[in-house]
């Protein structure tokens, strides 16, 4: 599953990463867990609660179930304008 990253996270990890996970009904909580396993460099960020996920450009919480084909993005803290 493709995940878009931005800012510092995008610079450190990659602006687009491919999580080794079937996107078929996977929840955000499962994705968070899979990302932490696949990119240890993200583990502390993911655990801190400072990151938020968006699916199809809407912020979602951990229980959200991702459907195949949806656009998934992971945000670190915004800088603002």
């Amino acid at each position: 599953m493709k995940i878009l990253l931005f800012g510092q996270l995008g610079e450190r990890i990659g602006r687009e990463v491919d999580a080794a996970l079937a996107s078929d009904g996977c929840t955000i909580a499962e994705l968070r867990h899979a990302l932490a396993e696949q990119w240890p460099a993200m583990t502390s960020d993911l655990a801190s609660g400072a990151l938020r996920f968006a699916v199809d450009q809407e912020i979602v919480d951990d229980s959200f179930a991702i459907s195949p084909g949806q656009e998934v993005a992971l945000f670190s803290v915004l800088s603002g304008g």
């Binding site: 670190s76 915004l78 800088s79």
Partner: protein, 145 residues
């Protein structure tokens, strides 16, 4: 360019008596006074624009203004270059001043950008300051909606 944005914003008005605009310019020094060679504003196409529209719509809801404008740069911005123009138009000047002030306070914390300052000794990603958060909190009193 902010002057052209202001001209086109003014051209679409009818009947307004007051236009207040804010232009933010990339500074050549960071908060510690160190030289900044440039800024990079990362954004999420679609969601970032939506965040700007949401802020403009909130100003239109909250103040007695006829129109609001928010135009924001993304990507690389050199010191001295404009980053943002925010403007509000109203019949009387007080509402336009308040709305422009409000637009900027919200943009500084809520606009969906990830901003990197590139200095002489490296780069750092920045977060809203405590002062930015305090500015935003000014508007959380019961509002005239």
């Amino acid at each position: 360019m902010p002057d052209r944005e202001l001209a086109s914003f003014m051209a679409r008005l009818s009947g307004a008596g007051a236009v207040v605009s804010f232009v933010g310019i990339a500074r050549g020094r960071d908060k510690e006074g160190e030289i900044v060679r440039g800024l990079f504003l990362d954004h999420y196409p679609g969601m970032t624009e939506h965040s700007l529209e949401t802020i403009a719509a909130a100003a239109l809801d909250r103040f007695d203004i006829d129109d609001a404008l928010v135009v924001h740069r993304c990507g690389a911005v050199a010191p001295g270059e404009p980053i943002v123009i925010a403007a509000a138009a109203s019949a009387h000047r007080r509402a336009a001043f308040e709305a422009a002030d409000y637009l900027m306070d919200r943009l500084k914390t809520e606009a969906m950008f990830w901003k990197r300052e590139d200095g002489v000794d490296g780069s750092r990603w920045i977060e809203p300051t405590e002062a930015d958060r305090a500015d935003l909190a000014r508007w959380s009193d019961p509002c005239p909606e």
